[in-house]
Amino acid sequence: MNRRLIKADKLPGLFIAALICMLVSVSANAVSLPPRFYHKTLVGTNFIPILGISIDGNVNPLDPSYTVNADAQIDGNLVMAGYARNFSFFGRSAQLAYLQPMGDLSIRSTAGAEQPTDASANGFGDPFFEFNMNLIGPDPQRTLPDALRYNPGFSMDILIDLSVPIGEYNEGEAINMGMNRVWGRVGFPMILQIGDVWAPGHRTSLEVIPAVILYGDNDDFGPNGDLTQSTDPGSSLAMHFTHDLNDDIWISLDYTYLQLGDSEVGPVESDGQSFSSVGATISTQITRNMVASFGYQSTLNDDAPGDIKMSTFSLNFTFFWAPLLDGLHRIGSDGE
């Protein structure tokens, strides 16, 4: 076998490893998933994301309705860990992900001098499930050649998210890890490949993810747990402009807009707020089976007392594996 043939034979593993750069995680912003989340990879690839988040603001990042705690200072150290798998579903590329929030949150508020708040919560939050399936775009990557040839071009998915209220929730507490209500979202992630080459060092994409957020009721809300919290549907728009700096490092400029639904807590009704946040993410593959990223995101125009305010640092590690790639690696055919 000639030299070129041997070289070609060893290349796939390298290529595939480089292609699997997606991150499986949710950011501190509960309805904004990170850049390159919806890029596709080899069917059968498994992911374990571990996302560490440090937040600072006036809302609970796990609360999808972003109820503002006026004059409150909320800090949190959270981890979201889970599992995801790519598969083919009715002839289209699909992914199912499960993410489990955990960690601790604390709130300090001086609003109402007689009753200053100083509370904390820890434990597990509500598990979060996401299913997404490609509607327009490349066929599922069933083989290594499919994975090698992946070009997103223009692709559109449908996503369905569901948060199940089984996390820790204590009635009457100022802050909780669980939300005690179902919430979910339906969205249509779209990817537009910019440039005609999709390979490490060349990838540039614009990602737009419009979504509608739906909420169930929390019947145990309020200081005494006797109020009902209801929220009308809201909407979100996340955008990422991602670009490879070189073969191994890519960055993203991130923007999120949220229009929250009108809410009702007991007899008190309030109009839904809207807010925007911007940030950036940088990511690199650090081993054959692990991708890391670091990001920061902060709300805009958040100086007024009632404005939603949140800033988030995140550090993510995503481990991934596929039996075929591991097999190639074990027999030394992946070029490493």
Binding site: M1, N2, R4, K7, P145, L148, D196, V197
Partner: protein, 591 residues
Amino acid sequence: MSFCHKPAFRQILVTSLLILLLPLSSFAEEQQPNILIILSDDMGWADTGAFGGEIETPNIDQIAREGVRFVNFYTNPMCTPTRVTLMSGLDHHIAGAGTMTLFTAPNQQGKRGYEGWLLPDYKTLANIMQESGYNTYVSGKWDLGRFPELIPRSRGFDRDFVLLDSHGSHYDMTNLYTDNPKLMFTEDGKYLTRLPKDYYSSKTYTDKMISFIEEGRSNGKPFFAYLAYQAPHDPHHVDEPWRSKYQGIYDKGWTYFHRARYSKQQALGLLPENSELAERYWYLPDSEVLAPITLATLGRHMELYAAMMNNMDYHIGRLLEYLKEIGQYENTVIIFFGDNGPEGNNTFEAITASGLSNNIFRAKHWSQEHHINVLGTPNSYPEYGAGWAQVSATPFYGHKSFPSEGGIRNALIVKMPDSKHVGGTIRTDFMHVSDIMPTLTELTGQEFPNGDTAGKSWLGMLRDPAQHVRDEDDWIGWEIMGAMALRKGDWKILNNWPPYGTGSWQLYDLKSDWAERHDLAAVHPEILKELISLYENQYMPNNNIILPNRAISESLWWNKPLRFPQFDNYPPGLYRQQYHPPPEMLAEPKE
């Protein structure tokens, strides 16, 4: 009424003047046909649809349908040797390119005929056509010398836009060598300081040729146009949508396409009865045993090659369409062929191997050549290797740089105005690239200017299908880097150096054994002896053959220190080092 207004006198005066001027009118002014030579670079015999390929080449195929396909047409085994023969009508060892400069052996260095370019003392095809009253144009790859006295403007071309080097990027001026990093181009006799905007070799060469023809129409002369594409020479660069056009097609592997092309060639009637397909190279696996990912990775290289061929055909189509628009298509002789067999040597890999200074150059300028999605873009250097080269050369054995049939036999198509040949005819005349200059000198009523040549004019055959170019006693010889061959009639002797050959003479009957599978040296020793005698006693002494006195690997200067002392100043500033033209000859491109 003045005297001179008398009609009778005026008629006599005009008639007399016409009679006086008639001998001064050139051959070309008598409404002679235009000549268009389209040369492709490193294209295999089987790479066009007309010759059994699956690659879409509708415009080349159209020329074939309207013209004649020649299945026994030969070039020389490498680029420069073929081009010097085309331009001079001479054996390349006489004309100045006895071997490729990169591979010159110590005993060849400094010897006349081994300079590496077309010697300036020979007239070129362009000189002949220019003197016959033609507008003469060249665009594309020149590869016949860089110095001012060697560039197209000095060799008989009125207009030129050429790459002076032998290979490099199709998108920019990037070369392969640390010491010679920049490709050189000329336009209308000036060395370009940069390339035009949106430069891509096949596109720009075609654009320039169309503009030359258009701008030259005003003087009413016919044109001689030499359009020497750099495609499909590696690196296999090509734009979208071509780059993706053949994605996945070649996952079936080279074994499949080797057989598929052979079957199609049989169906098209291109092959003789009882022909066979050449055996697969001993160092290549049957692609049936390869993994899908390997097939996809290797196939990507053929995808790009096919895309480049298809893209070149597209641009040829643009030129043909233009000729139709100006009413000159029917009045144009079109000659299409490739310069040698397909490239199966992975030369780039050798030139830029790990540890060499060129490897650093490669890391900087060509570092993404192996990613499947990057292949074909400006920073990649795809070359498709021996497996696909053998497919390109179907049904023959061998590829570029060897005088096996796959290295020297090429697909020739000729379309002639008012031809007596039935369109689409396939002919088996034994022909050679050295024939083209004698053909055109005869067409223009001139004498061949460069002394003795083995070239034979095709004109008789082209005008009268009953005639043939050569008879059974005519022969052609080849030598490149010590590999030797000679064909006389249907018999061919071949002596390739090991491991590609046996290092001794073999004998083949090309009447049916096009694939050179059956060595008949032991069966017909008398024929073998006669042909060896022809080679040694006539071909070699009469054509300045100096067999290299070293193994080829000893001359690969990029690989290791030479085992022999370098001739002073050889080659003088050419190829190994960047050549800096005279400042007054530098110019910006004409956008």
